[in-house]
């Protein structure tokens, strides 16, 4: 009986927690399927209306922005390019750097270690204007390259890969060497397949990180052609239900990725087998 009471209590608390998470998002979604006059008269809605297709299609295809040059569809495309670019670039460079740090006897190894890892303490927000002027000098403002590379300058994944490589038994390299594998073959044929879970977790983490960037795209894209979804939220005009619809669509990609790939993400980050 006590067991039953305590477990009912647990379920109740969890249910309240879920409601706090779900209800606000649900209300914005339900409201996004109504007409603007309905919202203006009656406020946010709990139940679905019947303007779903109308509102969402309009938001996706409407030419917005100051110069009416960009659609939400194009913003999604830009965000996708940016997030994928950030994920791949940062994970590939981190995999390689961590490999050199763990599997090589390097001169000045401690110095190199600090040069790489101290950067975790200096997020982009702290060097945003100088980064912008570097991009301007290199003529990279308003380009995918400009959106992607400064965000990929991160050693967080390197830290995770380094921790992971250190748990790989020494025997793996010994046997690989007996098989005649050189450094490149060992990296590609042995270590990368072994790090698959960690690689997937880091790709997810960096994709969401790249997709969710707000301040940097705001600064580095003066041309509407390169606007991303998250920054576009502030830029797009439109009536209230169209804003609701845009907000709803903007959160779909990262949420979907986290939910679908949840197991890999948690497995990689917490290294449980």
């Amino acid at each position: 009986m006590t067991r039953f009471i305590t477990s009912s209590f647990s379920h109740l608390i969890l249910l309240i927690g879920i409601l706090i998470m779900v209800v606000p998002v649900w209300m914005i979604f339900a409201s996004s399927t109504h007409t603007s006059s309905m919202i203006n008269m009656n406020g946010l809605q709990m139940f679905l209306g019947d303007s779903f297709y109308e509102n969402y299609l309009r938001v996706l295809l409407y030419q917005g922005g100051f110069f009416k040059e960009i659609t939400a569809l194009k913003m999604f495309f830009n965000s996708f390019i940016m997030a994928t670019g950030v994920a791949i670039l940062s994970v590939v460079t981190s995999l390689m750097a961590a490999y050199a740090l763990v599997y090589y006897r390097i001169k000045h190894a401690t110095l190199l270690f600090w040069i790489i890892f101290i950067t975790i303490l200096v997020p982009l927000e702290l060097r945003i204007f100088p980064t912008y002027s570097v991009m301007a000098e290199l003529n990279l403002v308003n380009s995918y390259f400009g959106l992607i590379v400064p965000i990929s300058a991160s050693a967080i994944a390197t830290l995770f890969f380094r921790q992971f490589y250190k748990t790989v038994p020494d025997e793996l390299l010994e046997s690989a060497k007996l098989d005649g594998a050189n450094t490149w073959r060992f990296f590609v044929d042995f270590l990368i397949p072994l790090s698959k879970t960690m690689i997937v977790a880091m790709l997810i983490f960096m994709f969401v990180f790249g997709y969710n960037q707000y301040l940097w795209p705001l600064l580095v894209t003066t041309s509407e052609q390169y606007w991303t979804v998250v920054m576009g939220l502030k830029m797009m005009s439109g009536s209230i239900v169209h804003r609701f619809a845009f907000v709803m669509m903007s959160m779909v990609p990262p949420i979907l990725i986290i939910i679908v790939l949840q197991k890999h993400f948690i497995k990689g980050v917490f290294q449980d087998k």
């Binding site: 998470m21 946010l44 460079t93 750097a97 090589y104 570097v134 990929s152 502030k234 907000v247 990725i257």
Partner: protein, 292 residues
């Protein structure tokens, strides 16, 4: 370090080159420029810059707005850490308790983590709008809530907006921490201590210390830096600058005010704060917690 390693005169540098190259050009170069900005002053027409030692720092210390932002940032990080940490822990303990549906609960609580702070801010906007915001009207009925004018009310607004998605992150890490505790420890404690409440605070919670301190750092970093998107889409500093974080103020001074010297000096102050927190974490906390 590995006992068996590669020895080579150049190939390790090929592996290091891409990341080091990106870090040098897009991180170290801008940091050096930040220092240069912080110690120089642009003339009014932007034609030249003059080395002014610590003048930019003295100016920000003389600026009451800087201390308002400083105070808010400290309060904001403290309250967000406290709220999201305790709710995250409470939910994680319950999710770890239940026999059935553990993974369903996990899925249903994990997803807000993925939403961008700026998107959360835009959503919060709708719930705190004077026209049809549910929370605005609820709080207004209760105590005359008005975030356009009251500092306390604007704090409540940005704290709710800032805490909401961060509960998820705390929940995930606490749950992982709880699941990592060995079954035998829990079973032994069940024999020794019948009171489950006392058992949690004397056995389980001390074992969660590494997770707790990790999350404190994560939450402080979040409140310092990631909340930019939340402030910029909710109060924009309303009533009159009281809800600006240090990052937000530095950005506004640099972008709107075009005062790169001040923005640089403010950035360096923040680097110092982050450095102090990190050293504190390594020096005093890492040594005092128990890992099982």
């Amino acid at each position: 370090m590995k006992k068996v390693q590669f020895k080579s005169s150049y190939s390790q540098y090929l592996f290091l080159a891409p990341q080091l190259g990106i870090l040098l050009i897009f991180l170290y170069w801008p940091i050096i420029q930040t220092f240069r900005d912080a110690f120089t002053m642009q003339d009014a027409f932007g034609f030249g810059a003059q080395f002014v030692w610590f003048d930019n720092f003295l100016f920000i210390f003389d600026d009451p707005a800087y201390f308002i932002a400083f105070k808010f940032t400290i309060i904001y990080s403290f309250v967000i850490t406290l709220i999201t940490g305790s709710i995250g822990l409470l939910l994680a303990v319950q999710a770890n308790n239940v026999m059935h549906g553990k993974s369903t609960y996990k899925t249903l609580l994990i997803w807000p983590y993925a939403i961008a702070p700026a998107v959360v801010g835009v959503m919060a906007n709708y719930f705190f709008s004077e026209r049809f915001g549910l929370l605005y009207h609820l709080f207004h009925e209760l105590w005359g809530f008005n975030w356009y004018e009251s500092v306390f009310d604007s704090y409540i607004y940005v704290i709710i907006a800032g805490s909401w998605k961060q509960i998820s992150a705390n929940f995930i890490f606490f749950l992982a921490g709880l699941q990592a505790i060995q079954k035998s420890v829990i079973e032994a404690s069940m024999i020794d201590c019948k009171n489950s409440f006392r058992r949690f605070w004397t056995i389980t919670f001390p074992l969660l210390m590494p997770t707790t301190f990790f999350l404190i750092i994560i939450n402080i970093t979040y409140a310092f830096f990631d909340t930019f998107g939340i402030i910029d889409t909710t109060t924009i500093g309303a009533p009159s600058g009281e809800t600006r974080t240090l990052v937000y103020k530095a950005y506004m001074d640099g972008f709107r005010g075009l005062d790169l010297g001040s923005a640089g000096a403010q950035s360096i102050m923040m680097m110092l704060i982050v450095l102090v927190i990190t050293i504190f974490q390594f020096r005093y906390i890492e040594g005092k917690i128990h890992y099982n």
